[in-house]
Symmetry: D2
């Protein structure tokens, strides 16, 4: 099978780098075009200030970065653009026929944009047909993944949806990479924490309900629940921790909840995707887990780790959940989304072989 | 005025060191006796591994540490003993006529032991008379200060008691010094947080209600409210942050709450105490405060800083509170407690002069 | 005595903030004018992102920041400008009659600019007369303090100059505040160190020899020695550590060296200055000191702490030295320099009273 | 090929854990016996406080830990014992016929114990025959790897031996994992560094010369050079950085040095070993590298990264070197040593197949 060429928008930023790192040796996709704003015209190897471990893969060093408004050859486009740049550019690319999988927040809450977390709401993908009809797009589409702090909330709660969650009170302890690069100055966060993350509390309170919602009659019916979010920043490189207290109308037992997490099964068509983890959620029995440094790489950074389930005398139950914010909460999720689109036939002229077999 | 000699139990530990640091140059008290277990018989200067800034004060270096079961000359005794050592030794000293101000948890929840935070519940001091009667003590007494994480909860909520707080959901981000020394290994907490602090959640859920309670008919009627606590550890040296969501039956406005904090007045007999801060609570208007490193030393480490008041769609209001855990939350509070006891005449043969004037 | 009004250039930056903090309650000087570039026209309280502990002093909040090219009323000007802005503006102000005490590197190595560390080279102040003559200035002057990493090297070695130091090999472990604000991104330095600090190695190799030099015949004869510097950045907020190995022609004994540090006396006219520490250097006998967090505030941040003197099988002796980089290594030194200028009569129409007495 | 069963002494400690982690899925060896002191008699899964990422491999959880003085079935034994325990137990096991590859310091400097770093001094393996003769051992042997801070010094300098290095002045910035677990208390090292690491300076000054030495006439002739070492501790999880200045009698050019590193070739019989990195050393051209967090995992933690080569005005040249202290500097090196012993036929009744082919 020939690999599909893909483009990355915002390729020199922190999330753009993570896209490049995760796509290195990807079985279906290969990075062919890199797009940037201030870096346009430079070799990627010269332009990038690589902030991840080690060095950028040799395969991208010589790619010359294209300007933001370039026409692109790649059908599949991953976007790590800042919100402001995404507002106009992403729909323009979709209108021009590209499949745009974006990590930007600009269009997440639009009625006809799926906010996709494949194990949880793969059926939201049907919104693409609505989107194309609404906007007059033929082969293009715009698919978003959620805010990086919303993501572990949704993944931990999806198995519990069945119990009718009426209230979700969450307090995050977020990693520094969530703020991009240069991001949080070290003088602000050594021997310190910051009880505020600009914009995140609102996203956690709205995106969660859309993602847990149901696709009905051509639109997403939001999950009915009340979310109260507090976002804080801690001196951790990667891995967002969420402390959650929830109320559930159906009053499950503690055992019911543990079973729901243990039995949470990924549909086979998703489990077979190259970036899908074996377990989307895992429950850790140790009393002091999950921990960011020790658990963020579970499932190659794609598994959400849960721990410390216990009764909450106010809301019912409380527990902690952790996910890798720039893998599962950003670039990794966007790639998984694109893999799902591929097997579902949404990417024109590209059908991955493995999917052919597995879907029969 | 001649200063009163005091003894410190557990003098080489982290809290013991903070007692020594805070008592250096104290206007009423002077350190005369140091007591320890494994360090007994050594010069303090030889025995101590000083973990605070700089070096131990010259005045204590040559004091020879007495064994734990020594008879003590000092009427006033500060205890930084571990719980196990405190169980028997503290009441024994009180029975022998000593005023024991303890930071240990061993006796905090005993019915006749005041859990004292002077600005909040100075009237609980009357429990000493009950205690003496119960236990047959004449001039001795045992007075506790709270757990270091409970303390900022109580201080931030005391001004709001008037609105009838029915629910308190708190998530802490606690500093490393709360675990003593050697305490948390660095390998556990660099680039990491730990979602568990042994024993603290229970203390936060019980001590809070005792401290906010009322002295009636010789006992403390606990404040009626439900507390749900989550305790986490973060890589911060000093300063415990509490994220709180609360329900209040009287549904005050946001302005009411801000006014309650702004107008929270210390009774004059407490405001005059040497260790009392000018403001027991302060509200910081900046969107990203309080922060441990920047705000822990407010009021010489004795002021609790509050910020980020906003509506909580589930419980009513939410905000953050921060206090210095080894000053206001431990040794500093114990010293303030002793100062209150002194002006109230509970320390035999010692009446500080300043109090005489100020109380008229 | 009426206090002297002073101006601060670059007042919103990290070093500018430290000037303001240290000048609050200064006995001789009071902040009257604040000067900035992008912040000009705003209230200081609105413009500043205060990065030090607590909050900016109330006394400066309402001062409206003046543009960089403003005429200033204050005779004494402290400069925390970036190098580029300092190049032209500082001499222009001196030419206009101002005494400019600068922390910028722009003019440090100019032949007629004193690089002043009062305890070490107060006689370099005579260079001001040369400077005025050279440049046609009458009452104005330009006086620099050194790079923050050079400073502890010079202070630790000044007492050993007498032994004829022929080689100085230094490896620094520098704090984050040395890079200003926002400075080093947290993603670069949590669980990490950086073996490179732009520009500092060169400054350490040249400024050291000028500062240790001698004023002879109207110019500074540089100290004759070879310096090899390696600069690294570590995740510490404040306090630069220097690991030094040195060769001395006179081959002193270890005891000679310890005595030289112990006996290093500040001339009385400097010891009396308000910002002068009781001991410019102190030797710590503990095997694991100095340490940045524990020793940086020695002498209110103005004392250099030395430790671990031992033989170096290659160069002779080795030891560690530590100083607070934004106090003694920047703003605090600049203020001490201005105090020296004041008592020496270099500030027109201002003679501090205390000096009058002390000098008799 | 059947895998060879191996035993791990000190299996619950930090280095013991790293042995287990690195041996999981090893092509030749499999963990069969675990040995401990206080943990003896417990299931490994119950006894271990796993401090590495994620969780211990499932394959070892049910192994019951044997007491320290147990007879062992495994011919090959890896030791992560503390020095005190190693003194007697390691030679006793070798005397009983075991091949003991140890990370302990107890016997490193014994005349007949090879201090092995295969790429650098594989010929020292011949010392085993001397050892057996000296001690009357038949099939057993005791082979040590070096101190974790010595290791990057030796690896970086081995390619330069040819230029006759006469002086080596090194200043380390060492990671926390070098102190084991619990090791360095977090209160000692957050916002701080410690200018002292117990015992390491001496090891760096002696082990280096043994490792760079030559096997002649049945013994190691030490490399002739003078080493001056300073050891400091920094808040980094893994990865020891060494700042080095060196003198070389043959005065190579900078290009000569870079070539020596680039051309440093591993003998084929070592390059084929399963744990051997493709490049034992790599030179990073970026001005601010190597960095611990970004470069410690180069070559799966087995490659030493070098950077910042420049002239030293005192000694000739200076540069920085970095290696992963618990992989290449401890367990990983010990495993590589055992692999070398296997292909060289020193492990009775075990000959790995791959080696058979590769050696022809």
């Amino acid at each position: 099978m020939e690999k599909l060429n893909v483009a990355i928008l915002g390729a020199t930023g922190a999330v753009g780098q993570r896209f490049i790192q995760l796509l290195e040796n990807h079985p279906w996709f290969q990075v062919a075009e890199l797009v940037g704003k201030s870096s346009a015209g430079q070799r990627y190897g010269d332009a990038v200030n690589w902030v991840l471990d080690s060095n950028p893969p040799a395969s991208v060093l010589d790619i010359v970065i294209k300007p933001l408004d370039s026409e692109l050859d790649s059908t599949l486009v991953f976007s790590a653009l800042p919100k402001e740049a995404a507002v106009e550019r992403e729909p323009a690319l979709a209108a021009a026929g590209h499949i745009v999988c974006t990590n930007a927040s600009a269009h997440r809450m639009a009625d006809d944009v799926p906010l996709l977390l494949p194990e949880v709401n793969h059926e939201h993908i049907a919104l693409i047909d609505v989107q194309r009809k609404n906007r007059g797009w033929t082969t293009g589409a715009l698919i978003a993944n959620s805010n990086c702090t919303t993501m572990p909330i949704v993944m931990a709660l999806a198995p519990l949806k069945q119990f009718n969650i009426s209230k979700m009170l969450v307090v995050s302890e977020q990693a520094l990479s969530g703020a991009g690069y240069p991001g949080v100055p070290s003088l602000d966060v050594i021997d310190n924490i910051i009880p505020y993350v600009s914009g995140d509390e609102g996203k956690m309170e709205t995106e969660t309900l859309k993602m847990l919602g149901t696709f009905v009659d051509g639109k997403i019916e939001y999950y009915e629940s009340t979310v109260s979010a507090t976002a804080t920043r801690v001196p951790v490189i990667d891995g967002h921790m969420i402390n959650m207290s929830i109320s559930m109308d159906d009053a499950p037992s503690m055992e019911d909840i543990l079973q729901a997490w243990a039995n949470y099964e990924t549909p086979p068509e998703i489990a077979m995707l190259p970036s899908a983890p074996e377990h989307p959620v895992q429950y850790l029995p140790q009393i002091d887990r999950p921990q960011p440094r020790r658990d963020r790489m579970a499932g190659n950074g794609m598994t959400t780790s849960i721990g410390r389930l216990r009764e909450c005398p106010i809301l019912g139950y409380k527990f902690a959940a952790l996910a890798h914010n720039t893998i599962r909460g950003a670039a990794g999720c966007s790639i998984l989304n694109a893999e799902l689109l591929a097997v579902k036939g949404y990417i024109p002229n590209f059908q991955p072989q493995i999917a052919q077999n597995a879907l029969t």
